[in-house]
Symmetry: C2
Subunit: 291 residues, 2 copies
C-alpha cells in the first residue's frame, strides 16, 4: 500500500514514543520531532509506510545514539510469551481443529503487547476471547487448502514475544506434514521486531530455518532484502506474513501470501474493510490491489 | 498550560482534517501538511496549544482560501441543538437542582459533536448519561457558593451548537438572580467555534450581552483580546470557561474561573488527573499551577 497523509501524524507519534523510550531529555525529543518535520516535504507518498517509518526510526537512532531502545521490552515479551507456551500448546492439543486454533493464537500474538508490563489476567482474557471470536476476514479454509498443497513455506515474522505464538503455528503445521519452513527476522533491531537473537532465544530455530531479511525495515521491503531471502521468497509455495508492517509492504505483491494480523490503525482497517483491533487472516488477492 | 510535544502529531491531524473539510484535492492536503511541518522547528513550546493551533488553522485557511470550512457543520449543530432546547428546558425544570442539571447539560453540550450528523438516539443517550453520571472533577458546590456571592459573570463560549446548552445554563443562573452576564464569542470563524452570528441565531443575545473576544484564536488568549473584552474579564466576579481550548489558554491565570469541559485528549486528561472523555467542572486553583 502507499503511504497516506494520515500516516504523517502517526510518524510523529511513533518518533516521540521511541525517543521517550530512549531518554527523558525533552531537548532530545524535540530535536527528533524537528528532524522528522524536516523530512515531511521530501516524503514520497507512493512508497509504503514502513519505508518511511524506517527513515523515521533511523532519525531517532541517529539523534539518541540508541539503536535498540526496546531491547528490554523485547526481552520481557519473549520471556512472558515463553512462560505461556506450555499452556498454549495444551489449548491447541485440546481443540477440535489444531491448525485453526494455532492460527487464531498466532494472530492473538500480534495483538498482545507483551513488552508493556502486561497483566497475566489480561493476557488470559485476550487469548480466551481470540479463541471464541471469529476473524473479521476469515480465509482460513483457503489457507488450510493451500497448506495441504504446498511444501515450501516462508514465514515472515513480526514482533518479539509474538514469535513464540508463531512457533506454535509452525508446530501445528509440522503435525500436518514435514514442510520446508523458513522464518524471516529483521537484520537489525527496529522497534520491537524480532531479530535472530530473539528467534534463537525462543528456540524457533528448532522448528524452522531462521533467515535474516537483510534489512532493518519494520516490514518486508523486497528491494532491501538479501539475495538469500529473495531466493526463498520467490521459491516459496506459500508465504505467511505476520503483522501490519508486512501487510503494508506486501499488499501490492502477486504471490500466494496469507496475512495474519490485527488491524492497528484506521488507515489499514479502512483498506481492509474492518475495524481497528479486528483479527484478520487474509489471502492476498490474485490481482494486485490498487492501493 | 504550555504546549507538549504530544500536541505536535495532533496539530498535523487537525490540519489534515480541516484541509479535508475544505477540499478533496490531495495536493492541497499535502501542501498544508508540508507548511505545518515547516512551522515545527520554530514552535515555542512555552506558549499554550491554542496559540499554535491558531497558526496551524491560519495555514489551512491561507492555502485553501477557505476561512470557514465548518460553516455548514456549525449551522447544523445550532439547528440540532435548538430542536433539543424545549426538551432540555423541561429536563432542567423537572430536576431537583436546576443549576446542577443545567451545569451537567452545559458540559454535555461540550461533549456532543452536534455538527457531525448526529443521531438523535445517540444524543438522547449522551444527555441521559450526563445527567446520571457524576463529574470526574466536581467543584459544583464551590461554583454554586461563588455564584451566590457575585454579580458580574463573564461566560467564555466554545462551540456552535453547544451555545444552546450555554443558554440553558444562563437561564438557570437568571432564575437565581439578575446577574450581569456577558457571553464571549470568537471574532472570526475558527474550527466550529461560536461567533456573533451563531450567538444571535440561537438567541443568546436575549439572555446575555454578546461580546467578541477580538481574536480568532480557538480559546481565550488574553494578549489578543479586545480592550472591551479585557475590561469585562478583569471586572467579572466569576468566569465560566467552556471547553478544553479555554482551559488550555487560561489554566495559568489567577482568577475566579470555573472550567466546564470534557477532557478531549490525553495531555489535558493527564494534567487534570482524569480520563479522556470525562466531564469536568473545575475551579481554578488560587495559586497558579506550574503547567
Amino acid at each position: 500500500m502507499k503511504t497516506y497523509l494520515d500516516c504523517i501524524p502517526c510518524f510523529f507519534r511513533q518518533a516521540l514514543e521511541t525517543a521517550r523510550a530512549t531518554t527523558d531529555d525533552e531537548n532530545v525529543h524535540r530535536q527528533v520531532l524537528d528532524s522528522v518535520a524536516s523530512l515531511i516535504p521530501e516524503l514520497p507518498l507512493e512508497v509504503t509506510p514502513p519505508e518511511i517509518a524506517q527513515q523515521v526510526y533511523r532519525i531517532v537512532a541517529d539523534i539518541t545514539g540508541n539503536r535498540d531502545p526496546y531491547h528490554e521490552e523485547k526481552w520481557r515479551a519473549n520471556q512472558v510469551a515463553l512462560s505461556l507456551y506450555p499452556r498454549l500448546r495444551e489449548v491447541v492439543a485440546d481443540s477440535d481443529d489444531h491448525l485453526l486454533t494455532a492460527c487464531k493464537l498466532a494472530i492473538a500474538g500480534n495483538t498482545i503487547d507483551l513488552g508493556a508490563n502486561p497483566k497475566y489476567a489480561d493476557i488470559n482474557s485476550i487469548i480466551e476471547s481470540a479463541l471464541v471470536s471469529s476473524l473479521s476476514i476469515d480465509d482460513y479454509h483457503e489457507f488450510r487448502d493451500s497448506i495441504n498443497n504446498c511444501q515450501r513455506v516462508l514465514y515472515l515474522g513480526d514482533n518479539a514475544g509474538e514469535i513464540v505464538f508463531d512457533r506454535l503455528l509452525i508446530r501445528a503445521l509440522r503435525q500436518i506434514k514435514d514442510f520446508d519452513i523458513d522464518f524471516v527476522v529483521r537484520e537489525r533491531p527496529i522497534i520491537n521486531d524480532a531479530t535472530l537473537a530473539d528467534a534463537i532465544y525462543v528456540s524457533l530455530d528448532k522448528v524452522a530455518g531462521i533467515v535474516s531479511s537483510g534489512s532493518d525495515a519494520p516490514a518486508t521491503i523486497l528491494s532491501q532484502c538479501s539475495p538469500q531471502m529473495l531466493r526463498l521468497y520467490h521459491s516459496a509455495d506459500i508465504i505467511i506474513a505476520k503483522g501490519q508492517g508486512n501487510y503494508e509492504s506486501l499488499s501490492r505483491e502477486h504471490k500466494n501470501i496469507f496475512f495474519f494480523l490485527k488491524a492497528k490503525c484506521q488507515v489499514v482497517a479502512r483498506l481492509l474493510g474492518v475495524s481497528v483491533g479486528d483479527a484478520v487472516l487474509k489471502r492476498q488477492s490474485v490481482a494486485a490491489p490498487s492501493t
